[in-house]
C-alpha cells in the first residue's frame, strides 16, 4: 500500500513538471480562427514541438492580453485588427499595414510572422446571375443600378466611421445606396440577397456562404476597404524557447488563399465537418504533414439528410441549431438515400425528414403512423415539383408513363408512391428510382423518362439551375383537391408555387407541400427505467432527452410550429386535460393497494401477537 502511494506521488510529480513548457496556442471564437489555430498546432506537433491548444481562447481582447502576459505563446491575428487594437486607423495597403504592426508590436515582445496569404476584408457581394446580367464586377460598377441601390448589412457596418457605409458612399460616390435590410443575423442578410430583396450585401471575404450560394464578390477597385491579413502572432520568448519554431511557421507563409479559406470555412460551418479534420486535410494536401491517426476521442453526432438536400439550405440550418444545442460536439452530416433508415439503424441520431417519412402505406385506406421517430422542430417546407420536358405534350400527371422519383425511399419516392396510390394511378405509372439526379435528368432529356417528381423546397438551388436551362416546365397537381385525399393524407397540405419562382414558369403551379422537420428516435418509456446500478452501455442510438428536445426546438425555431399531423416529441405537444376524468383511474391499481394494506395489517399482527407459552 505504502509503495503504491509512493508511485502515485511520483506520478503526480512527473505530470507536474516537464522539461519544456509546451507551446500554448490560442484562438478567437469563430470558425476561421479554429481552423487556422488547428493547422498551426498540427504542423508544430508534426515537427515535434509540443503544443497546448486553447481553441477557442476568447475574443480578440483576451487573446491579445494573454499573449502579452505570457499565458499564450501564439495566436493568429489580422493586421487590420492589430492596428485598431493599438488605436491606429486600419489601412487598405496590406504591405504597409504589415510593416506598421510589426514595428508597433516589437516593444511588446511580440513578433508578427509572415502573412498566411489571404485577407479577410469586408467585401460587397451580389447574386451572380444579376451581376452577370448587369455586367457588374467591381464596386464602381454599382452606379449602374438605378434609381436606388438596395443593400443589406449588419448594424455594425452602418456605424463604422472609417470603413462603414457612410465612408463607402463617399469614396465611391454611391449616394443612392439605401440600407434596406439591417440585421445582425448573417442568415437573414444572405436570404434577403438570395430572395432578391436587395441588390448587394456586405460580407467577409472568407465567408463560406459566398462559395455556397455561388455569389459574385465585387472587386474593391479603389482599394477602399482596409486589409485584414492574418499572420501568426508569436511571443519572442517562445521563438527563443523553440529555435525551430520560426522556420516551421515560415512554411505557412502565403500558403492559404482566399478561396481555400472560404472553402474550409464552408466545410466546417455549412457542412458541419470537423475543423480538426479540415486542418489536417489542408496540411496533407500541401505535403506539410503525412497522414496520421486521429487521436480525438469525442464522438461525432451524426445527422442524416436526403441526397438532394442542399448543404447551404436546410442542412446548414439544421446543423446550426444542433451546434447550438450540443456545444463542443462534432457534427457530421450523413447524406443518404433514406435518412429515416439511418436513424432506425442507429447510424444517425437525428435526421432531416419530411412528413411522409412518418407514415407507411399499407393495404388500408389510411396511412399507418411510423411510431419509431418523432419530430423535434421545423426546418422548412418541401413542395412537390412535377417536371416534364418543355416540348412534351403531357398536360397532367396522369399522362406520364415513366416517372423518375430519385432514390428508393427518398422523400420524392415516398411521396410519389402515396400520391399515386391515393389517386389510384399506381398501376398506370411506372416509378423509376435512381440515386443520381443528373442521370435522371439525362434520361428525361433522352425521353427515357416522361417526367420527374421531386420533393424539394421551392427555390431549391439545383432545381433553379435545371429550370433556368429552359428545357423543362412544371405541371400542376390539380386532382389532389378533389376526392378524399386531403383527409386520407392530412400531412400533404395544398400549396402553390407562385408564378415566376423559376424562369420559364409564367403561371402559378398548384401542388402539395410537406413540412420538413428535424426528427429523432422516439424514446421508449418503460416503468422499470433504464437506469439503475447495472446499466449497460447500449449500442443503440439514444433518443433525445426532454431538455435537449426543447432546446433544439427553440434553436430551430423559424416561427413556424410543427404540423399537428406529424408525430412530435411528447414535450412539444400540448397535453389537454380530459373534461371528464374518472375519479378512479384504475380499478386494478386500487385492488392492488387494498391487498397491500391487508398484508401490512397481517404483518403487524404477526409481529404484535402474543408469544406462545414455550
Amino acid at each position: 500500500m505504502r509503495k503504491l502511494f509512493f508511485y502515485f506521488a511520483l506520478l503526480l510529480l512527473i505530470m507536474g513538471c516537464s522539461k519544456k513548457e509546451p507551446l500554448h496556442i490560442g484562438s478567437k471564437d469563430f470558425t476561421e480562427q479554429h481552423i487556422l489555430a488547428e493547422i498551426i498546432a498540427q504542423l508544430l506537433e508534426y515537427e515535434k514541438i509540443p503544443v497546448k491548444r486553447s481553441i477557442p481562447y476568447g475574443d480578440t481582447f483576451s487573446n491579445l492580453e494573454a499573449i502579452k502576459n505570457g499565458e499564450l505563446d501564439l495566436y493568429v491575428e489580422y493586421n487590420g485588427t492589430g492596428l485598431i487594437m493599438l488605436g491606429q486607423p486600419p489601412i487598405s495597403n496590406g504591405d504597409k499595414a504589415f510593416a506598421e504592426v510589426k514595428k508597433l508590436f516589437h516593444p511588446l515582445g511580440l513578433e508578427w510572422m509572415n502573412r498566411l496569404g489571404f485577407s479577410n476584408d469586408y467585401v460587397l457581394v451580389m447574386r451572380r446571375d444579376r451581376a452577370l446580367a448587369l455586367k457588374i464586377n467591381k464596386i464602381s460598377d454599382l452606379v449602374k443600378i438605378q434609381p436606388n441601390l438596395r443593400m443589406a448589412m449588419e448594424s455594425e457596418f452602418v456605424e463604422r466611421p472609417l470603413d462603414g457605409l457612410p465612408a463607402l458612399q463617399r469614396r465611391y460616390g454611391l449616394t443612392h445606396i439605401v440600407s434596406s435590410v439591417v440585421d445582425n443575423n448573417k442568415a437573414v442578410i444572405y436570404q434577403a440577397l438570395l430572395d432578391g430583396k436587395v441588390d448587394v450585401t456586405e460580407g467577409f471575404a472568407t465567408e463560406g456562404r459566398i462559395e455556397d450560394f455561388g455569389l459574385a464578390v465585387l472587386e474593391d477597385d479603389l482599394a477602399f476597404f482596409p486589409v485584414y491579413e492574418p499572420s501568426p502572432l508569436v511571443r519572442k520568448e517562445a521563438l527563443k524557447r523553440y529555435p525551430k519554431l520560426r522556420s516551421v511557421l515560415e512554411k505557412l507563409a502565403d500558403l492559404i488563399n482566399t478561396t481555400d479559406m472560404r472553402q474550409m470555412n464552408r466545410k466546417v460551418e455549412l457542412e458541419g465537418q470537423d475543423y480538426q479534420r479540415i486542418a489536417q486535410e489542408f496540411l496533407i494536401k500541401h505535403k506539410l504533414i503525412e497522414k496520421q491517426l486521429q487521436t480525438v476521442k469525442s464522438d461525432k453526432l451524426i445527422v442524416s439528410a436526403g441526397l438532394i438536400n442542399e448543404l447551404g439550405g436546410s442542412i446548414s440550418q439544421a446543423v446550426r441549431a444542433i451546434r447550438k444545442t450540443f456545444p463542443g460536439r462534432r457534427i457530421k452530416v450523413l447524406q443518404t438515400a433514406d435518412p429515416l433508415q439511418a436513424i432506425l439503424d442507429g447510424k444517425a441520431r437525428l435526421g432531416i425528414l419530411s412528413a411522409e417519412f412518418f407514415f407507411k402505406m399499407g393495404d388500408e385506406v389510411l396511412p399507418k403512423q411510423n411510431k419509431s421517430v418523432e419530430a423535434v422542430g421545423v426546418i422548412g417546407t418541401r413542395m412537390a415539383h412535377i417536371i416534364v420536358r418543355q416540348d412534351s405534350r403531357i398536360k397532367r400527371l396522369k399522362d406520364i408513363k415513366r416517372l423518375g422519383v430519385g432514390a428508393l425511399n427518398s422523400a420524392s419516392d415516398r411521396t410519389a408512391k402515396m400520391v399515386l396510390t391515393s389517386l389510384d394511378w399506381r398501376k398506370d405509372i411506372q416509378l423509376v428510382n435512381n440515386e443520381k439526379l443528373a442521370l435522371q435528368l439525362d434520361e428525361l432529356n433522352k425521353r427515357k423518362l416522361d417526367g420527374l417528381f421531386l420533393m424539394v423546397p421551392p427555390g431549391h438551388e439545383k432545381l433553379t439551375m435545371i429550370m433556368n436551362e429552359g428545357t423543362f416546365k412544371l405541371l400542376s397537381l390539380k386532382s389532389w383537391q378533389e376526392g378524399n385525399h386531403l383527409i386520407r393524407f392530412p400531412f400533404f397540405r395544398l400549396a402553390r408555387i407562385p408564378a415566376n419562382t423559376y424562369e420559364q414558369q409564367p403561371e402559378l403551379i398548384e401542388t402539395i407541400s410537406t413540412q420538413m422537420v428535424l426528427a429523432g428516435p422516439t424514446p421508449v418509456t418503460k416503468i422499470v427505467g433504464d437506469r439503475g446500478p447495472a446499466t449497460v452501455i447500449s449500442s443503440t442510438v439514444q433518443p433525445l432527452s426532454d431538455p435537449l428536445t426543447l432546446q433544439l426546438n427553440k434553436a430551430l425555431s423559424s416561427g413556424e410550429k410543427l404540423d399537428p399531423a406529424i408525430p412530435a416529441a411528447e414535450v412539444l405537444t400540448q397535453r389537454t386535460k380530459p373534461l371528464s376524468n374518472p375519479i378512479n383511474p384504475s380499478a386494478m391499481e386500487s385492488l392492488f393497494n387494498l391487498l397491500i394494506i391487508f398484508m401490512i395489517i397481517l404483518f403487524f399482527y404477526l409481529f404484535l401477537r402474543k408469544e406462545k407459552a414455550v
Binding site: 505530470m15 422499470v528 437506469r531 439503475g532 449497460v536 452501455i537 393497494n593 397491500i596
Partner: protein, 511 residues
C-alpha cells in the same frame, strides 16, 4: 430446534427444484426473450407503478429499522457467541462488502448520475447551481443509506440466526425458527427456492450486463469490436477466474480480489481528486454531506404526486431500490457470512455508514469533476451523458493526464468487480443449496458456477439487454415479502432474547 432430520433429502430437494426451475425459466428467456421480458418486466413495472408509495416507505422503513438496531436496545448483541472475535480484519471486511454491494455500476454512474440530474432535475429547471446541489442529493439518495440499509437488513436477519441461533444460513431459517413447524415444508422450501432463483437470475443477469459493459469499455478504449465472440472470450476468462477464486475458499480468493479492487478504486479516486479540481471536490463532498443528511427525511418520502412526476420516481429512485432489493438475498447472505463475530452496532455502522460516506466522496470526486467541467469549464460532457452513460466516464478521463492508463484501470476494476460478484454469488447459492453449510464444498460451487456461466452465455446469445434486466430484477418483488416475514421473525426472536437477558441480569450489559 433440530435440523438433523431430513437434512440430506431437503438439501437435494431445494437443489433439484432450483436447477429444474432455472432450466425452465432460462430456456424460456433464451427461446422467447420478448415474451419472457414482457411478462417479467410488466409485472415488476405494474407493481412499482401502482405501489410506489409502499416500496418507497418500505425502503425508508429498512433505514429506520437499521438506525434503531444500531442505537436501540439490541445494539450490543453480537452476531455470534458473546465472546467471539470477528473472522476478518475490519479493512478486509469493508473491502469485501463494498465489492459485493456496489460493483461496477458505481464506476459508470459516478460521472453520469450527478450530471444527469444537474441537466434535468425533477420539478425544477436544470443547469442551475440549485440543480447541481439537487443532483448531488438525489445521487446520494440512490446510492447512499437506503441501498446499504436494504443490504444490512437482509444480512442482519441471516447473520443473527446463523451465528447466534446457529440455524443453517438459509432464507427460510428465520421463518422456520419463529413461526414453527406448522408452516414448515412447502412454505419454507418455497422461500428457499425463491431465494436461490433470485440469486441465480440476479447474478446471471448482472453478469451479462457486466460482460457487455466490459466489452463496450474495451471498444471505447481500445477499439475492440463488439460481437458475440468477444463476449464469449470475456465470459470464459471471467468464469475461469471466478471458479479458481471460488475453489480456494472465502479467506483467499474473494478476500484477495476485494482488496485488489479497493486498492485500484482508491488509486483512481486519489488521482481524480488530486489531478482534478481538488478544492472544489472537497467543497462538494462537505456540502453533499450536509445537504444529503438535512434533506434525507424529505427525500425519503418524496413521490411528487402534485407535479405528475411519479414516473420520475419509479424510473429512478424506485428502479434503484428494486435493484438493491434484487441483489438483497445474495449480497445479504454474503455480508452475513463475512460479518460473524461483530456486534449489531458495529455491523450497522460498518455496513451502512462507512460505505455511504465513501460513496458520497466517490460521487463528489467523479460527479464533482464532471459538474466542474460543465459549470466552470468548457463543457461537452453533459450531452454525452444523455447519450451513453459509459462514454461519459471515458470522456471524463480524457481531461486527465494519463487518460489511457486511467481508462485501462477502470476496465480492470469493472472486470474484477464482476469476478468478485460472480464468486460471492456462487458461494451464496452453494450455501443456500447445501442446507446452509457455511463452507460449501468446492464441487457444489463448481456446479453452480458453471450453471451460471451457461445461463449467462444463453442470455448473451439472445443479444437482448432487456432479458438480462428482466432476469435480474424479477426476483425482487417476491423476495421483498419473504424479507418482511424474515424481519418479523427476527424482531420477535431478538425481543425475546433481550427480555430473557434483562430478566437474568438487572444491569444492562454493554457488548
Amino acid at each position: 430446534m433440530s435440523f438433523s432430520q431430513n437434512q440430506g433429502a431437503k438439501s437435494y430437494l431445494v437443489f433439484i427444484v432450483s436447477v429444474v426451475l432455472c432450466g425452465v425459466i432460462g430456456v424460456w428467456g433464451v427461446l422467447a426473450p420478448e415474451q419472457m421480458t414482457d411478462t417479467a418486466l410488466g409485472l415488476t413495472g405494474f407493481a412499482l407503478k401502482s405501489l410506489d408509495w409502499f416500496f418507497l416507505v418500505l425502503c425508508t422503513g429498512f433505514l429506520v429499522l437499521s438506525v434503531y438496531m444500531a442505537f436501540g436496545p439490541y445494539s450490543h448483541i453480537r452476531l455470534g457467541k458473546d465472546d467471539e472475535k470477528p473472522e476478518f480484519s475490519t479493512l478486509s471486511w469493508l473491502a469485501m462488502l463494498f465489492a459485493a454491494g456496489m460493483g461496477a455500476g458505481l464506476i459508470f454512474w459516478g460521472v453520469a448520475e450527478p450530471v444527469f440530474h444537474y441537466l434535468a432535475p425533477p420539478g425544477m429547471p436544470g443547469k442551475t447551481p440549485e440543480s447541481a446541489r439537487m443532483a448531488m442529493i438525489i445521487t446520494n439518495l440512490h446510492w447512499g443509506l437506503h441501498a446499504w440499509a436494504i443490504y444490512a437488513i437482509c444480512a442482519l436477519v441471516i447473520a443473527y440466526f446463523s451465528f447466534r441461533k446457529e440455524t443453517p444460513s438459509l432464507i427460510s431459517s428465520p421463518i422456520q425458527a419463529e413461526f414453527g413447524c406448522k408452516h414448515r415444508g412447502i412454505w419454507c422450501h418455497s422461500a428457499d427456492i425463491i431465494g436461490v432463483l433470485a440469486v441465480i437470475f440476479g447474478l446471471a443477469g448482472s453478469m451479462t450486463m457486466g460482460i457487455l459493459q466490459v466489452r463496450a469499455g474495451l471498444g471505447e478504449v481500445f477499439g475492440v469490436p463488439a460481437n458475440d465472440f468477444v463476449s464469449m472470450i470475456i465470459l470464459v476468462l471471467m468464469t475461469t477466474l471466478f471458479l479458481i477464486s471460488a475453489s480456494t475458499g472465502l479467506d483467499k480468493g474473494i478476500k484477495i480480489l476485494s482488496n485488489i479492487n479497493m486498492t485500484i478504486a482508491v488509486a483512481i479516486l486519489i488521482l481524480i481528486i488530486f489531478a482534478g479540481p481538488t478544492r472544489f471536490i472537497f467543497e462538494v463532498f462537505i456540502t453533499s454531506i450536509g445537504d444529503y443528511f438535512s434533506q434525507l427525511i424529505n427525500m425519503s418520502f418524496k413521490l411528487y404526486p402534485y407535479k405528475e412526476l411519479t414516473g420520475w420516481t419509479s424510473g429512478w429512485t424506485l428502479t434503484y431500490f428494486i435493484w438493491w432489493l434484487a441483489w438483497g438475498p445474495f449480497v445479504g447472505i454474503f455480508i452475513a457470512r463475512i460479518s460473524r463475530g461483530r456486534t449489531i452496532r458495529e455491523f450497522a455502522i460498518g455496513v451502512i455508514l462507512i460505505p455511504t460516506l465513501f460513496s458520497i466522496l466517490w460521487f463528489a470526486a467523479f460527479g464533482g469533476t464532471a459538474l466542474y467541467i460543465e459549470m466552470f469549464g468548457g463543457g461537452g460532457l453533459a450531452d454525452l451523458v444523455l447519450e451513453d452513460v459509459s462514454k461519459a466516464l471515458f470522456a471524463l478521463f480524457t481531461w486527465f493526464p494519463l487518460s489511457e492508463i486511467l481508462s485501462g484501470l477502470a476496465l480492470i476494476l469493472i472486470f474484477v468487480f464482476l469476478v468478485t460478484s460472480a464468486d460471492s454469488g456462487t458461494f451464496v447459492v452453494s450455501m443456500m443449496t447445501s442446507n446452509g453449510n457455511l463452507n460449501p464444498s468446492t464441487s457444489f460451487k463448481l456446479i453452480w458456477g458453471i450453471l451460471i456461466a451457461i445461463l449467462t452465455a444463453g442470455i448473451l446469445f439472445t443479444g437482448s439487454v432487456t432479458v438480462a434486466k428482466a432476469m435480474a430484477i424479477t426476483g425482487a418483488i417476491p423476495f421483498t415479502f419473504i424479507l418482511i416475514i424474515q424481519i418479523i421473525a427476527f424482531l420477535r426472536t431478538i425481543r425475546r432474547e433481550n427480555k430473557a437477558q434483562l430478566s437474568q441480569s438487572p444491569i444492562h450489559p454493554k457488548g
